[in-house]
Symmetry: C2
């Protein structure tokens, strides 16, 4: 299995620098990772650097807490596309979901979905499984399936835990086959990575990608 092709090589620390992002992009090109996942303010730099390499540029929207207004998320999405992003990892509005405001959650995802689809950009919706019970995971996966997003993604990596195998298995059961799963947060070993793929993930978000493919 060519593990590298499954990996979004990720650096989202608040204090990462231009030089760190340049290094991340070099590593992604060298090892053939699927994408780099970088903060909004580094999308243009990354897009320029990975140009023609086959590596995609992903960025984050409403990250990592998700309770930003949809208008702010939309501006982030438009700017990311303008700067050259190919993929977007948006955090759903978890606090609206917990308040029972499903229409807010739906409209928020749909707004970003519409922007992405108009530009052939891949949309991954981060549901933050660590903050959800099994019923909630099921319900939000059904909503994502209805909207036809490209990926449902487990975690931001900023909550108290990341991806859990059982959650990915549940997501795989609920989601139609054509909607992919990205497992992320705390994936640090090759064995973990392979287990998540076995459970149904077709993309992995990793900050420790080099140690993982070694």
């Amino acid at each position: 299995m060519n593990l590298a092709a499954y990996i979004d090589h990720t650096l989202l620390k608040p204090d990462c620098s231009e030089a760190d992002i340049a290094q991340l992009c070099r590593e992604a090109i060298t090892h053939g990772f699927a994408a780099v996942c970088v903060p909004p303010n580094f999308v243009a730099q990354a897009a320029e650097q990975v140009k023609c390499s086959g590596v995609k540029v992903a960025t984050v929207i409403g990250f990592p807490l998700g309770y930003n207004l949809s208008t702010a998320k939309m501006v982030e999405a438009f700017s990311a596309i303008e700067d050259g992003a190919h993929e977007m990892d948006m955090v759903m509005n978890i606090s609206a979901f917990k308040s029972g405001a499903i229409d807010v959650v739906r409209n928020d995802i749909q707004a970003i979905f519409a922007i992405c689809k108009a530009e052939d950009v891949v949309l991954k919706v981060i549901i933050e499984t660590a903050l959800l019970n099994q019923n909630e995971i099921k319900s939000i996966c059904e909503l994502c399936a209805e909207i036809e997003v490209d990926f449902v993604k487990t975690s931001t990596g900023f909550s108290h835990s990341g991806a859990v195998l059982e959650d990915v298995q549940l997501m795989r059961q609920v989601l139609p086959e054509h909607i992919q799963i990205k497992a992320s947060g705390g994936i640090k070993t090759k064995a973990q990575a392979e287990a998540f793929i076995e459970a149904g993930a077709s993309r992995l978000g990793c900050s420790s990608s080099l140690q993982l493919i070694r």
Copy 2:
């Protein structure tokens, strides 16, 4: 000392609900906290609830990582004002600062400052001291003083540590007297709160406010 008048009663968890925010606002009115600090999507609700009580509504911009584009932060600021916010706690662009892009950091703060000043809204700039060394804290305080922001705030509460007494003392030395300091992150006891005020903070961001004033 009336400790309550120093406190921004804060709830910024990604899964906080409408009911949690309603409870936060009730507590703030009962105890006379300076403000409630709430996620962007709950500003309108909080503003309606604390109306005429003297409690202010604060919200967060570019929170908690700071590397959002200025355009996205500006939309957050405009929307927050429209929804009734009186104060804004914005995270500076730490990753631009670490990349030596001081103009990006300055323009980012100035953009939000201009929006706030036009509407008499208080601006607090979160510098995330946990990610900065002493020289960096000094340098960013000088920049904030030059822009004449209302407050410099230590922490988001989402980094590996919150406010530290020595950092607040340093900030107080560097900042002119009329620029206030908000200490936040990990302040859980009355003794800690009083020590931060003694060190020069005139506002405290607390999630454990009730236990602190008891």
